[in-house]
Point group: C2
Chain length 584, copies 2
């Protein structure tokens, strides 16, 4: 690879970042940018997300947690106090790139030590880019326990979104189990594996209904009509709209497992944003959304104003055993209790992957968006397989199942604590004779804590390669999420990625995202510039899959990260390091 | 108080401790004393303590944890690895005084930082005194989750117990709930309070039977006969004995809540040891044992050898809603499946407190045991009351409900980190007009983290004063456990302790113990020599009561503790202290 284009890219990246920082500084100097302070007390509360009472992880007594709202260029400061009894906690600000603040990424064992009970840790980070984001726990399976909320970044003062809307509605989607997360974790780590199964309920803004349906009164329903009297915590959050207006629906999915499809009766949706990046607007009747993704869609309330309309979410990609999640689009001044005249939209067949692929392949960057470098410096192919270690079922990447160390990587890399994690990097690829269409010939795998070391400011391609799981004719959807960076999605394909697929990659207008899916037996190609120093997770966003090892770690010149607060590293070997009097 | 008797006592204590240390050193020099190493992995496992499957906290895959066995003078070394997902953990070695090693006492927030997931902490301590001990979690309510096991210290080589026996049997008693401990904790911290209720089952060595009885076939039983096929993990651990022999039964109770009564059909028991101290032998038909206590009793297998006999435990002191726990004394060579000809012994009426008091008052130190100093240097009276803080129900001591800080006291005291806990000591007494026979006139209390500072080598009296709870005509049993020391139990009495009770105190042969009960509406007087530097908990051993604040902290010259390992204090303000480069 010639050095001059590389250097040019490095320079471009440097200029781009400098411009961001300069504009932020300018904004602050002009008094435009604000520092927005939040106090978050994380605690267990009794909730009833789907009308069944359950212990839920809440913030300040709320589930989901409070919505954070800021403007591009603002600094968000969250003083997070752990009010749990025996558990540590962290919060990851999903989609926020943490430019220059890798210690604020909120990933236990990676970017920081878990915050101990009774302690407060302060997250301070720049939200440089408007968009629809969310936050969630990133320790054990605390996200599944309910530790999540929305994070919305508006355009800076004086700036305008590149589309018009009269109002907005915010939908945070999740799934819910009645088995406690503690039990789920033990089952997933047991031999034989105890799989968590499909969720009991789907939640919209933390609300769902178990064992009954809001739409049971339609003739084609076999479930019981929900008998809500009003005022229940699990009652749907009604979406109130005025007729003849345009609304922006912000939709984010923090599901533990479920891939979802969302539709609104009679209303088309125009997709305008994905993961905090503008996309070329396109209209759809329904939208597939995977865990870790966010979208903005515009809807126009141009339907019969005498009616209300269903908004429904249903399970995709796994044989569903969970009723649709429902709420109402309430055309004012209709009563919110007026039920729509038609049943809720029908979720497409769970295994109609062509439907999903067709949606994914319609997503392109909005004109004027940053374009990917034409060349890559390094390409890493990551084969996703289901395997076994001593009879315990795991997920592995190039035959390594990720086992997180107790000392956070960021500290280990910064202070060269090489004994705290495997020094051998995991493989760059997988054997050329591996048959992705069949179960692994040798199902055994290994666990490891090695990292991929990416040179700063280089362009990295990742080919996510799906394969058959342990059982025949099974290959699952995995949404992969990258921390610290957005990436360009260059393309999707079937079977094993090969040279001939190279030409199909989209370098013209690929969308920037932070989460992308691999379809069953398929591959997904993505590209990013490793321009944010730190140690970053890249992993399947399905909570039990990550628990079972489905992730990798990128060290992007973490050795030269400056300014890590001591509080982030007061545990494990970094804690001992400092105890022995070595200054950070 | 004259200084000479005080000094004399100090000298005596110093000589006594020096002799212990010398004898240990001598033992080691002679090669008699051993260092006994254990590796403990704490993890969640699926268990079925009472035949109902449940997640249980286990050690090395076992529940209860492995039995530690050592000889007096040995050093026990436990390398404890936390294999939980998001929870810290510690283990307290209940009854071991930790002479000179206060950091190894295993109390989170008091003697050390909780051990983080993935980390190993090494406990190293002397077991100087033979006896029946146990160990258990001391963080949140992890003891209730199943984190416990036995710790047996035999006499040193060449030494003999002061009683003869042919064999021994070990019984660790506990109680069990089907609701997870995480849920219990949230309920106990909620307003309105959600009380945990009575246990679903009583366990003997971690085994019980829910919703059925091993003894249902007797005509006076209304429960279902257990249908155990053999090999179930919840099947009772049969006590195999030979006829015409003497057995030592070691009995320890680590219940979360239940006070128990234990009896063996047709067999008398001779009590010879309490909490690791020899007592004047006395014979009983049944034995009351409170959480935190241990006893050794001798039984003689002199009954009809053709029969087996029931050993039963039942609930005392609270209106029971839990079936008896049962196992069999199996006279060999009878089959273990041969059921006794009579039903199990009947547990005395739960509120027959005279029965309990009569038992407690029969316990005296064995001749030759250390005697208490004749005078005390300081007397602290601790009123136990149930109160409210902003509507949340708490237990308080002299109107302070203990709220543990996030930085362990031992580090805070040693390094003068005065901001980490309340600097005002809690009151020495309670108002003279307080009516212990009625609910508090003002139910409101405060929470606090202040400590009682006891001068080193002084003699301290504590009067534990019981009172009426929030509801009328309710006063509960509380077993109080002292860390780091044994104390002499000088007496029990009714109502409010007064001058005239002074004369009734037993200074002649009071038993040494580490746990003692206060009876409803009564007082208990105890005395100890504060001769072990450190910061020590003294608290109600009922797990939910401690969670609700029922404890106090004694700082015994913690400032001058030497040799605290850094690993014990790598959290909170002590962690930050060291991060800032200040050496310990």
């Amino acid at each position: 690879m010639a050095s001059s284009p590389h250097q040019a890219r490095g320079l471009r990246a440097l200029i781009a970042r400098s411009l961001i920082i300069l504009s932020v500084l300018a904004g602050t100097a002009l008094g435009r940018n604000q520092v927005r302070h939040y106090n978050f007390d994380v605690e267990y509360i009794f909730g009833a997300p789907d009308c069944n009472e359950h212990v839920v992880m809440g913030i300040n007594g709320q589930f989901p947690g409070p919505t954070i709202r800021a403007k591009a260029g603002d600094t968000v400061v969250v003083h997070l106090t752990n009010k749990l009894y025996t558990e540590g906690v962290v919060i990851h600000w999903h989609g926020i790139r943490q430019l220059g603040t890798p210690w604020a990424d909120g990933t236990a064992s990676i970017s920081q030590c878990a915050i101990n009970p009774g302690e407060t840790f302060t997250y301070r980070f720049l939200v440089d880019k408007p968009g629809t984001y969310f936050y969630h726990g990133h320790y054990g399976m605390q996200r599944s326990a309910g530790l999540y909320g929305s994070l919305i970044v508006d355009v800076a003062d004086g700036e305008r979104e590149p589309f018009h809307y009269d109002g907005e509605l915010n939908l945070l989607l999740s799934d819910w189990w009645h088995q406690s997360v503690h039990e789920q974790e033990v089952g997933l780590s047991s031999s034989p594996l105890r799989w968590i199964g499909e969720p009991q309920s789907l939640l919209i803004n933390g609300r769902g209904q178990y064992n009954c349906s809001l739409a049971a009164h339609y003739s084609n329903s076999s479930s019981n009509q929900c008998n809500l009297k009003g005022g229940e915590k699990c009652a749907p959050q009604i979406l109130h709209v005025q007729p003849k207006k345009t609304y922006r629906l912000r939709i984010a999915s923090t599901t533990a497992l479920a891939s979802l499809n969302l539709a609104i009766g009679n209303h088309k949706m125009v997709v305008v944003e994905a993961d905090g990046n503008y996309v070329q607007p396109f209209a759809v009747d329904d939208l597939d959304i995977y865990s870790g993704e966010s979208y903005s869609v515009l809807i126009t309330t141009d339907q019969n104003p005498k009616n209300n309309y269903w908004l429904s979410i249903g399970v995709r990609g796994r044989k569903p055993n969970t009723p649709q999640g429902l709420t109402l689009l309430n055309y004012l001044p209709n009563s919110a209790s007026k039920l729509p005249i038609s049943p809720p939209p029908v979720t497409p067949q769970w295994n109609d992957y062509n439907h999903s692929k067709s949606f994914s392949k319609r997503i392109f960057a909005r004109m004027g968006s940053p374009k990917p470098p034409k060349f890559y410096d390094r390409r890493i192919t990551l084969l996703n397989t289901q395997n076994k270690i001593n009879g315990f079922i795991k997920w592995a990447i190039n035959n390594v199942s990720l086992a997180l160390p107790s000392t956070p990587y960021l500290g280990s890399v910064k202070f060269l604590l090489n004994h705290t994690y495997d020094q051998t990097s995991p493989p760059e690829n997988f054997p050329s004779n591996y048959d992705v269409m069949n179960p692994p010939a040798n199902p055994n795998t290994t666990s490891g804590s090695g990292v991929y070391r990416l040179n700063y400011n280089t362009t990295v391609d990742v080919i996510l390669q799906n394969a058959n799981a342990l059982a025949v004719n099974v290959s699952e959807i995995h949404p992969w999420h990258l921390h610290g960076h957005d990436f360009w999605v260059l393309g999707y394909g079937e079977g094993r990625f090969s040279r001939k697929d190279e030409r199909k990659l989209n370098l013209k207008n690929p969308p920037l995202r932070n989460t992308v899916v691999i379809f069953p037996y398929g591959w997904t190609a993505l590209r990013f510039i490793a321009d944010n120093r730190g140690v970053w997770a890249f992993h399947c966003h399905i909570e039990p899959h990550l628990h079972m090892g489905m992730g990798v770690i990128f060290d992007i010149d973490g050795r030269n990260v400056k300014g890590i607060p001591n509080e982030a590293l007061a545990c494990g070997a970094t804690g001992r390091l400092s105890v022995n009097g070595v200054h950070h």
